[in-house]
C-alpha cells in the first residue's frame, strides 16, 4: 500500500480495496464519512474475536433452521445462505433519494400495467413498440379489461440496484412477480443484533422490523368489496419442498396470517374458501408465492397441481385480491425494462430519479447487430429468466459460449437483451484470506396498498468468489445486513 496512511483499525489493516470498483465503506483508503463510527467500533475487534462472532452468527442460523433446501433425495439437504458480518451501509441523504426514486418507479410501473390491460395508450402513441408488450410471456390477455381490487398491480416489488464505478446507484431490474429474499433481510438484522449488540448502541441504523406489519396492512387495504373486517389474508405457498418455503413460513408467522397450499383452498360460486377443521372459511386476500402459470389449472397451466381450480374466475369476479396481480410479468420483462424511464415521463410527466443501465434490445435490428458484434464486451440476458440463469458474461466467456449465444440470439432475438458490463461496487467481506473486496448489489423492497412504503435498505447480496459479478444465491452468493443510517451518522 506504499505510503498510504494506515487504515483506522486492526481488522481492516490488510484490506485492499478493489482497484476499479467503488467501495461501499472506503474512499481513498479512508472510511466514508457515514461509516466512520461503524469502522471505529469494528476496529476494536481483533481478527480472532471477529472469527468467534462469525461462528456464533452461523450457529444462530443453523440452530434456528434458517435454511434453504436442496432437495436431492427423500430427506433433502438443508443449507444456510452464507451471511457476511460486515454490514453494507447507505448514507441517510442518499437513501431519501433512492426511496423517492423507487416510489416514482413503482407508480409508473403500476400505471403502465393498468394502461396495457385497458386503453394501451403508451402503445398507441408509439412510446413502446406494441408487439414487444403484447408478445411478452408475462402479458396475460385474460387480464384485459379487468382492474384488480384497489387498482393495485404490484403490491410487492424487489428492485435490484447496483452502484457503478462513479458511485451512482442505478436500476438493474425490477422484480414485480413474486420477489423473494426479504426474510433474509429481517433474519440478518436479528442475527447482527444478537452478535454485535454494542454496534447498535453507537450507530443509528433504521429499523427493518416493520416489514411484516406494513405488508399486512397494505394487503388489507386492497381487500375486495364485501371482505370480512379485518379481511382474511393468507399466504399461498407451493409447499414445503420449495426452496423458499422457509421464507413463506417466516412471513406467515410474522404477519400473523395462515400459510396455505393450493389443496387447502377451493372455489365455490366464484368465492375462495379455506378448508378448516370447522368447515369452509371465506378468503379475501391471497399473498401468492406461486407464478401465474401455476395459479389455476382451469385458466393457465392445466397440469399444475399447486394451484386452485377456479381461482382466476373468483379473481375476475372481484371476490378475492391476488398479490401480486396476475400479469405483472409484462412489467418486469427485461425487454420492457429499458422503457421504464419513458414510462415515468409519459405517465407522471416527471424526470426519472433513478437511472437504468443502458440496454440493447435484440428485438430491434440495430441493437441486435450491435450485440452480435460485441458479445465479448456485453452481458447478455434471457428476458424471462432470473436467478442468474440464461446469462452470458461476455468478458469472462469462452469462444464456444459466445458462439452458442450467437446462434441462440439469432434464432430468437425477442428473447434477449444485452448490457455493457458494469463493475459492481464492492464491500469488505470475510474470505479465507481475511477481509477482501467482493461485489455487491442491493434489492430494496417496495410495498404498495393504498399507499407505498419502502423498506429502509433491503437485501445486499454479495458474490463470494473473487472477481465474480454474479451475486445470486443460486450461483453461490451470500448476503449482508444493510444499514441505512439515520441522520447521516454511523
Amino acid at each position: 500500500m506504499g505510503n498510504d496512511p494506515p487504515l483506522p483499525c486492526r481488522l481492516f489493516q490488510n484490506y485492499k480495496p478493489h482497484p476499479k470498483a467503488w467501495d461501499e465503506l472506503f474512499l481513498n483508503q479512508q472510511p466514508h464519512s457515514h461509516c466512520k463510527e461503524l469502522l471505529g467500533q469494528f476496529g476494536q475487534l481483533d481478527p480472532l474475536e471477529f472469527q468467534r462472532r462469525r461462528t456464533s452468527a452461523d450457529m444462530a442460523f443453523v440452530n434456528q433452521g434458517i435454511t434453504f433446501s436442496v432437495y436431492a433425495d427423500r430427506r433433502g439437504v438443508e443449507k444456510i445462505f452464507p451471511f457476511d458480518l460486515i454490514p453494507r451501509t447507505v448514507p441517510a441523504e442518499e437513501w431519501y433519494a433512492v426511496e423517492s426514486g423507487l416510489k416514482q418507479r413503482i407508480t409508473a410501473l403500476d400505471a403502465f400495467l393498468d394502461d396495457v390491460y385497458h386503453d394501451q395508450r403508451i402503445l398507441k402513441e408509439g412510446i413502446i413498440p406494441g408487439d414487444l408488450v403484447l408478445e411478452s410471456k408475462g402479458f396475460r390477455k385474460e387480464m384485459i379489461g379487468f382492474r384488480p381490487p384497489g387498482g393495485r398491480y404490484i403490491h410487492i416489488c424487489g428492485t435490484d440496484l447496483i452502484r457503478d464505478e462513479k458511485g451512482q446507484l442505478i436500476v438493474l431490474e425490477d422484480n414485480g412477480r413474486t420477489p423473494s429474499g426479504v426474510s433474509y433481510v429481517l433474519e440478518n438484522r436479528a442475527v447482527m443484533k444478537k452478535v454485535f449488540p454494542e454496534l447498535f448502541q453507537y450507530c443509528r441504523v433504521r429499523r427493518v422490523e416493520d416489514y411484516p406489519r406494513q405488508l399486512r396492512e397494505a394487503l388489507c387495504s386492497v381487500a375486495p368489496e364485501g371482505a370480512a373486517n379485518p379481511p382474511v389474508v393468507v399466504l399461498l405457498s407451493p409447499g414445503p419442498y420449495n426452496s423458499a418455503y422457509f421464507e413463506h413460513s417466516f412471513l406467515a408467522r410474522h404477519m400473523g396470517i395462515e400459510l396455505v397450499l393450493g389443496p387447502d383452498l377451493f372455489v365455490e360460486k366464484d368465492c375462495v374458501y379455506l378448508k378448516t377443521t370447522l368447515g369452509p372459511q371465506k378468503v379475501d386476500v391471497i399473498y401468492r408465492r406461486l407464478d401465474d402459470d401455476f395459479l389455476d389449472p382451469e385458466a393457465f397451466r392445466p397440469d399444475s397441481l399447486l394451484g386452485v381450480p377456479g381461482l382466476f374466475r373468483a379473481y375476475r369476479a372481484g371476490n378475492v385480491t391476488l398479490a401480486n396481480a396476475v400479469g405483472t410479468g409484462v412489467a418486469d420483462d427485461k425487454a420492457v425494462y429499458p422503457y421504464v424511464e419513458e414510462m415515468i415521463r409519459f405517465y407522471l410527466s416527471e424526470k426519472p430519479i433513478l437511472k437504468n443501465v443502458p440496454t440493447y434490445i435484440c428485438a430491434k435490428p440495430d441493437d441486435l447487430a450491435y450485440t452480435l458484434d460485441h458479445l465479448g464486451e456485453l452481458v447478455v440476458k434471457a428476458v424471462n429468466e432470473s436467478g442468474g440463469y440464461g446469462m452470458l458474461m461476455g468478458p469472462a466467456s469462452t469462444a464456444a459460449q459466445r458462439a452458442e449465444f450467437h446462434v441462440k440470439i439469432r434464432a430468437n432475438p425477442r428473447n434477449y437483451v444485452a448490457q455493457p458490463v458494469v463493475t459492481l461496487s464492492t464491500c469488505p467481506t470475510w474470505t479465507d484470506e481475511g477481509l477482501a473486496p467482493r461485489h455487491v448489489d442491493l434489492r430494496p423492497y417496495i410495498v404498495s396498498g393504498q399507499s407505498t412504503w419502502v423498506l429502509p435498505g433491503g437485501l445486499t447480496r454479495t458474490a463470494l468468489i473473487k472477481g465474480s459479478l454474479v451475486v445470486n444465491s443460486s450461483q453461490g452468493g451470500g448476503s449482508k445486513d444493510t444499514w441505512v443510517m439515520e441522520n447521516g451518522r454511523a
Binding site: 434456528q64 433452521g65 408467522r253 395462515e258 374458501y273 378448508k275 377443521t277
Partner: protein
C-alpha cells in the same frame, strides 16, 4: 384452523410421543436384563413385536442389533431417529403455527442426533442417552404449554399426544403376553414380578403405583394392569389418556353442520366399553384380547379423526348433504 395444518400438529405430537415411548421400552428392557437371565429369543423379540415389527430376523435379535435398529435405523419407520425426523418434518411444515421456542428446540435435537458426541453418549452411557430422548418430548410439551396459545393447534397437539400414549401404554402392557413364561409355576415368580415392575417403570408408573393404596391379596400383575388401564389420576393410563383426548375433541368443536361426528362416535364407543368394565372382566375376556381391542379401536379413532377434521370440508352445500347421509 386449516385441516392440513391440524393434521401436521396431530402427527408432530404422535411422532414425538412415539420416540419417547420407544426410548422408554428400550431402556426398561435393557435394565431388566441386567437382573435376570431370560432366554435370548425372549429378550428383545417381544419389543419388536409390540412396536409392530413382524419381519425382523430372529437370529439378529441381539441386544445391540435390536437397540441399533430401534434407535438409529432411518429405514425403520418405528426407530427413534425416524420418529424424531418425522416430528421435525411436520414441525417444519407448520413452523408458522408452533412457537419459535418449540421450533428451535426441535431443530436443536435434530442437530444433536447427528452430532458425533451423541453417538458417543449412546455407546458409553446408554441410560443417559435414552433419558435424553425422553426429555425431548417432555421439554417440547412444556414449551408448548407455556408458549403456544391454548387454541385449536394446541388442542390437536394434545390430542395427538394422548391418543398415541393410550396406544403405547396398551402395547406395553401387552408385551407380557409375548414373553413366554417357561411354566405356569413361573407366574408370580421373581422373573414374573420383575417383568411387571419393568412395565411400570417403562411408563414412569413405579412410584405412583406404590403410593396408590389398593386391596391386598390382588396379584401384582392384575394390580399393575389395572393401574395402567384404569387409574384416572395417572397421566399415562389408558383411561386418563382417552379422557384427555375427549376433552381436546370437545374443545376443538365440530365442523359446521355436524352435531356429532365419526370421531365422537368412535371415541364414545371405546370410552363406554372401558368404563363399563372392571379389571376382572378384562382378564376373563383375556388380557391380550382386551388390549388388542383397545389398540384396534384407537386405530379406528385415528381414521375417524382423519375423516372428521383433516379431509377438509366440502363447500357448505355439500356439507349439508353429508350430514343427511350420516343421519
Amino acid at each position: 384452523m386449516i385441516s392440513r395444518v391440524a393434521e401436521h400438529c396431530f402427527w408432530m405430537a404422535r411422532y414425538l410421543e412415539r420416540a419417547e415411548s420407544t426410548a422408554r421400552l428400550l431402556e426398561v428392557n435393557r435394565t431388566l436384563l441386567l437382573d435376570f437371565h431370560v432366554p435370548t429369543e425372549q429378550q428383545w423379540l417381544p419389543l419388536l413385536i409390540i412396536s409392530g415389527i413382524h419381519d425382523y430376523d430372529e437370529e439378529d435379535a441381539t441386544a445391540e442389533l435390536v437397540q441399533a435398529h430401534m434407535t438409529w435405523n432411518e429405514e425403520n419407520p418405528f426407530s427413534i431417529v425416524s420418529s424424531l425426523a418425522w416430528a421435525r418434518e411436520n414441525a417444519r411444515i407448520i413452523r408458522e403455527v408452533i412457537s419459535a421456542e418449540m421450533w428451535e428446540r426441535m431443530n436443536f435435537y435434530h442437530l444433536w442426533l447427528r452430532h458425533s458426541g451423541t453417538r458417543a453418549m449412546y455407546d458409553g452411557n446408554r441410560g443417559e442417552f435414552y433419558a435424553q430422548i425422553r426429555r425431548i418430548n417432555q421439554l417440547l410439551h412444556g414449551i408448548a404449554d407455556d408458549t403456544m396459545s391454548h387454541g385449536e393447534a394446541w388442542e390437536f397437539f394434545r390430542l395427538g399426544k394422548h391418543l398415541e400414549r393410550a396406544c403405547q401404554t396398551a402395547r406395553v402392557l401387552d408385551v407380557k403376553y409375548h414373553y413366554l413364561l417357561p411354566q405356569v409355576a413361573d407366574v408370580g415368580s421373581p422373573i414374573d414380578n420383575a417383568h411387571w415392575v419393568a412395565i411400570l417403570m417403562s411408563c414412569s408408573g413405579y412410584e405412583p403405583f406404590h403410593k396408590k393404596s389398593r386391596a391386598a391379596l390382588v396379584d401384582p400383575g392384575t394390580a399393575v394392569a389395572e393401574f395402567l388401564i384404569f387409574e384416572e389420576e395417572f397421566p399415562r393410563s389408558v383411561h386418563h389418556c382417552l379422557t384427555e383426548c375427549r376433552r381436546a375433541i370437545d374443545a376443538i368443536g365440530r365442523p359446521a353442520g355436524f352435531d356429532t361426528t365419526e370421531a365422537d362416535r368412535t371415541f364414545d364407543e371405546l370410552l363406554q366399553w372401558l368404563e363399563s368394565r372392571k379389571m376382572l372382566d378384562l382378564i376373563r375376556n383375556g388380557l391380550h384380547e382386551s388390549l388388542t381391542h383397545v389398540v384396534d379401536s384407537i386405530h379406528g379413532i385415528g381414521h375417524a379423526i382423519q375423516e372428521t377434521y383433516f379431509m377438509g370440508q366440502a363447500p357448505a352445500s355439500k356439507a349439508f348433504e353429508q350430514k343427511q347421509t350420516q343421519g
